[in-house]
Amino acid sequence: MNLLRNIFLRREAGIAVMIVLFCIAVGAVKPQFLTLDSLRIILLLTPLIMIGAMGQMLVIVARHVDLSIGSMLGFSAMVTGMMFKFYPEIWWPVGFLVSIGIGAALGLLNGVLVTLFRLPAIIVTLGTLNLYRGLTYIVSNAKQIDRQFVPSALKSMSQTSPIFGIPWIIFISFGIGLLTYGFVMHTRVGRQIFALGSNPIAAPLRGIAVNKVTLLVFTISGALSGLAGILYASRWGFVNPSNTGSGFEFQVIAAVVIGGVSINGGVGTVLGTVLGVLLLGCVAAALPLLGIPGTTQSAIYGAVILIALLIDRTVRQQGIASLSRARA
């Protein structure tokens, strides 16, 4: 156990070092990158990804993957936006319940398909990615929810702050991070997710209700996508049937993989994921500052994912090697 923890430590330290080196390198060219102002920009780029990444981390740890999060985000944001538009008399915080509830329901459906029919999550969620996006168009009649319909109290959550000029939305995202940490480290179910992911065959033998845990993981992923959905409306002020949430899954999976969550299941930490999200945020904030055209962004993301995979693989191999050495 100690050994595994060392590996984790090393892995997270690695990302932290990467972030620091990256910031110093950018700061050397553009000193204004190392100001509080740009820290604010970086943090404001990350909340949605952070929230999505927490759910995705749990799903990947359980040896599944959820590609439908962008569409779940879009659908729950759209329904919530329509509630704001057509029932403006409803107290706006109810939108949080609606959005999270809808997200959870969609996530549960993913989970049911995966467990009940024993289908691979990647294909199920590839299917529901289309399905939920299509439903988003249908419920909205392909119409955007314009800015004037989104309550200004909701929009100001991304701007006003309770303390230190840090907007509410950032507190929410880090709060979700802390909750996830508590959940995976200090609850029985949280530990069971890891047990299930490390060895799905042994899990039921150890008395883990595999189906229940799987359902839970997908529901959490959906609920967090729903939360990200209403925060999308808060951050950008509108909900569009095609833009909202599209491509979200790639950003989130990139962040999670960079954060050291192993795609083979059973391995991953909240801290690593948070660092992965921050690294992506730093890259996204630095590119325009350096005047690098947006066209290179996707290539850089791809390269970063592949490098993270190589690092992950090297670490894993060394870990296994030292494990077997220890055993011998």
Binding site: Q32, I41, D146, G237, S242, N243, P288
Partner: protein
């Protein structure tokens, strides 16, 4: 006077007689938008629908799910197969549609580009309907910006994609105006950045502009996504008195920003009139009352006399409409 009316009536009668086959069946018009869920096209569609109500043509709007270059091809093929008389399209690509539009023309379908043209490939469509004379857009925008900042200070441009043809035409004209018109000699264009018409990317670029150029006093965003993102940044930082944002935007998206003073004025044209004009033109050409030739003119209700300009291009209005706190509630698109 009487003679003239009589003559016109006679001409009309003859035109109707020769095109009796078309007159019996209503003209079928389809408009293919860039993508679904794009609020801009609701307004153009409204113009088509109202025109078809009064002219008695059939109208349908279709659009692919994404605005990617080739996504419109299956839709054009399907409309050819349906046997429509007119395909009006807002092309997603200036050249990837050439082949399929040619096959539509070969079937005798009237191909119009509405709100965006096949720049450099004009021979693959019959005519184009653009909202304004795009050569005036750049200078108009510079003048509006200048009036907001007292014709002095550092300004920047937040555009769509690096290759967006319309935006690049306007930006070139803005550069030209800033350089050559002595009125704007104290206005200094420090940067042109591209938000790729994505809200997230446009926001990041806007934030980078503000930290890269602390002395910035104005940003021109000649794209509906860009101006909304720029306004959002300015609003959230509460710096509307220091950094002025203007550009081309949709009243429906900008209403809040104008009302709370984040943006004092911005410009656009009427997308509704594009649809209105396109439908009238199409029905006229198929009915034989309008000749699709450079230099010929025709009357359109509410729009007055329209002249077919070089490259078979038509404009719905001469100058951009400026929206501000006083008039924004009069517009519902």
């Amino acid at each position: 006077m009487l003679k003239k009316t009589l003559l016109a009536g006679l001409a009309l009668g003859m035109a109707m007689a020769t095109t009796v086959a078309i007159a019996q069946e209503p003209v079928k018009i389809v408009y293919i938008g860039k993508n679904t869920g794009n609020p801009y096209f609701d307004s153009i569609t409204g113009g088509f629908e109202d025109a078809c109500k009064s002219l008695g043509c059939e109208f349908e709007f279709v659009a692919p799910a994404t605005a990617e270059a080739t996504s419109q091809i299956p839709f054009i093929e399907a409309q050819i197969q349906r046997g429509v008389n007119v395909i009006a399209i807002a092309p997603n690509s200036p050249d990837a549609l050439n082949q399929v539009l040619d096959s539509a023309k070969a079937k005798g379908i009237l191909v119009l580009t509405v709100n965006g043209d096949l720049v450099g490939n004009e021979s693959h469509r019959d005519a184009t309907i653009l909202p304004v004379d795009f050569t005036k857009t750049g200078p108009n925008q510079v003048e509006l910006m200048g009036s907001m900042i007292g014709y002095k200070g550092d300004i920047a441009i937040l555009s769509a994609t690096t290759e967006a043809p319309d935006q690049n035409t306007w930006i070139a004209a803005m550069n030209d105006t800033l350089k050559n018109d002595p009125k704007y000699k104290d206005m200094n264009l420090v940067a042109t950045v591209y938000g790729d018409d994505q809200p997230e990317k446009s926001t990041t670029e806007m934030e980078a502009l503000l930290s890269n150029y602390p002395n910035l006093v104005g940003v021109i965003a000649p794209t509906t996504v860009g101006i909304a993102a720029a306004a959002q940044v300015v609003q959230s930082r509460g710096i509307a008195d220091k950094v002025h944002v203007t550009g081309l935007g949709l009243p429906s998206e900008m209403r809040d920003f104008v009302k709370d003073g984040t943006v004092s004025a911005f410009q656009l044209w009427s997308p509704y009139n594009e649809g209105w004009l396109a439908a009238h033109f199409a029905v006229g050409v198929l009915g034989g009352t309008i000749k699709n030739e450079v230099g010929s003119t025709f009357e359109v209700p509410n729009l007055g006399t329209i002249t077919i300009a070089d490259k078979n291009a038509m404009n719905t209005q001469a100058e951009l409409t400026t929206f501000d706190a006083k008039n924004i509630d009069e517009f519902n698109f």
